[in-house]
Symmetry: C2
Subunit: 366 residues, 2 copies
């Protein structure tokens, strides 16, 4: 049996161990076909079952009504930053964006590159994106209102979605997708790169409402049109078959082993509170975001001074607690607690953090 | 040990067994990291080694000079049909395309969607794309000349590339990439979806010459610019890490176990000749393409009448010879003999085809 570490990577991130074991077990022959999942045709009955199952599970987990479509599109969230304005901007109607850091900023930039009428109606840049803005006015005639549901880098998360006042919401949910039940009603489109909560890197899941598809200009390149993916069940060209297969396994685990989104939400809240409790009762750990905006998925914090922080990162790695270094753009520490991170991993981290603080205090006092 | 079949799938296609075994063996802990390759960061030292190795091996295998760049871009060849004209069309200079069937036709369509001055300088549509056109004139001032090196569906392959007369060649090499040595000199860009000769589905490898990068308009969406991928070593956003890892393993196998492109070319010629020999000496098998244009990668043929052909397809499957049905758009049979298809698999197929013909003759005579 291989030695595994506690993996707090921000993405690509840890996957449920039973899923990895199932992939490994069947890797040379998928469902008795005598071929690896990587070797079977995307037009085969076998793969169609996988794809259909992944879509059906998504529909059940998110309780999607019939007017929503589940699409798999390559290029990650970054490609969506381009596809959203090019497909969904209505002529003469502004695009509204809320800027809560890196990913929102990139999404805004891509809409601006296209020369659209982009209005950033709120931003938390004034305090380094450490909170979520609440005071803003949506343009009544906006094509859509775009926001990032969870900022992986800064560690903020919307716990109540912004009110679009009738304007369709669009959200980049890459880092908290499928981590709690979503009320889909106000959303025209949500999207998520797979590599945090639902699978390996290589595809984004896009959920789009029927009325949004009517906006798609038919003059766009085929691979940039949402309608291409909807009309062909994401099989216009060869999709990333292995990635979709793993997503299907993760969703199966989420639905059948965990018991769905309400259950995973409970577990995620418990996991995050274990770490925030340590931080809130500490003299060396400091959270970096406003308390009411902090994320259940990415817990960002600093440890004492530069030297102590470095020691913390070295010691965690030595103790099998991996991936705790903050994003290169902000430094510090970050524990990503996605769905597949077990409560045992989180308990081990919390315990280590307490012990490290004890040692550090003795060290400081000495 | 799992029962494996002889896999003649057109793509996604068979992979070298030692590669699959290595993936399986290390799937729960990549290089002793305690994490699966699917769980490690694309910014980690481990993944950077994989990516660098894949690029270096590509450079060595294709003997690339320093002015060529190796990029990994999601969306397959279909996304390249869009990216090529949008990035590389020069203002006021026509685009030249040769149409040899489905994939060329799609590439042409995408350039036309963009409103470019597209000139199809040759086509073999008059005889259902069963041959490659040789009589054409390249526009002296063309931005580029695009052709498909191998037509997976019709079973044709260029054995001598068209002469661009100084105009940069661009080629979709999805289905014969890395199957023989390439003289890169006349090429401004070549590209290949991974899922035939070099890996699983989910990425295209693009090799682009420095001077072509100078054409890229900086007004394009970030994810559609070749310069984005070149400037960031294909790491502007999260790449499909698992797919690139498998590509690296396949290229390692190709370089170290097989011995390079000259060696694989010899083997591929031998494999194809085993099947073509059966076809050329048969009363029931008929090749569907002109002999001098036929492909070493995709051998397309018909078997007797409808009924006999159906029986052939049923019997091959029963005998562990998988994936021989022709593309849905053309019917008939097709044996795809990519690099990873072993000579043993091909011998088994040739033997079966001979035996089947013997039985069929007795059946017809009776």
């Amino acid at each position: 049996m291989e030695q595994r570490v506690h993996n707090f990577n921000p993405g690509p991130a840890t996957l449920p161990l039973p899923v990895l074991e199932e992939i490994k077990e069947n890797f040379l022959s998928f469902r008795g076909s005598g071929m690896s999942i990587t070797e079977i045709s995307h037009r085969s009955r076998e793969f169609d079952e996988v794809l259909t199952d992944a879509i059906d599970r998504t529909r059940r987990l998110l309780k999607l009504t019939d007017d929503y479509h589940v699409l798999f599109i390559q290029g990650g969230a970054s490609m969506q930053y381009c596809m959203i304005p090019i497909n969904l901007a209505l002529p003469g109607k502004p695009l509204n964006y809320i800027n809560t850091g890196t990913w929102s900023t990139k999404a805004i930039k891509e809409a601006q590159i296209q020369g659209k009428d982009v209005r950033v109606i709120a931003t938390s840049e004034d305090r380094d994106f450490s909170y979520l803005p609440t005071d803003f006015r949506v343009d009544k005639d906006a094509s859509y209102l775009h926001f990032t549901s969870n900022n992986t880098i800064k560690g903020t998360q919307w716990h109540h979605y912004p009110d679009g006042e009738g304007v369709p919401l669009i959200s980049d949910m890459s880092s908290d997708f499928m981590s709690y039940p979503i009320n889909m009603k106000p959303f025209g489109l949500i999207y998520a790169g797979a590599q945090k909560n639902i699978g390996p890197a290589g595809v984004a899941m896009v959920i789009i409402r029927e009325d949004m598809l009517k906006r798609v200009p038919d003059t766009l390149p085929t691979m940039l049109r949402y309608t291409t993916f909807k009309d062909n069940k994401s099989l216009f060209n060869t999709p990333p078959t292995f990635t979709i297969y793993v997503i299907d396994l993760v969703l199966t685990w989420l639905e059948e082993t965990v018991g769905g989104l309400k259950e995973i939400e409970k577990i995620n809240k418990e996991k995050a509170s274990l770490i925030y409790e340590v931080i809130d009762n500490s003299e060396i750990y400091r959270g970096t975001t406003e308390i009411k905006s902090r994320s259940l998925m990415n817990v960002t914090f600093r440890v004492g001074d530069e030297e102590l922080e470095q020691r913390f990162l070295v010691e965690t790695t030595k103790n099998g607690l991996h991936g705790l270094k903050g994003h290169k753009s902000v430094g510090g520490c970050r524990a990503s607690l996605y769905n597949a991170v077990t409560i045992e991993s989180v308990r081990d981290l919390a315990r280590f953090m307490r012990e490290f603080e004890g040692t550090a205090r003795r060290f400081i006092q000495a």
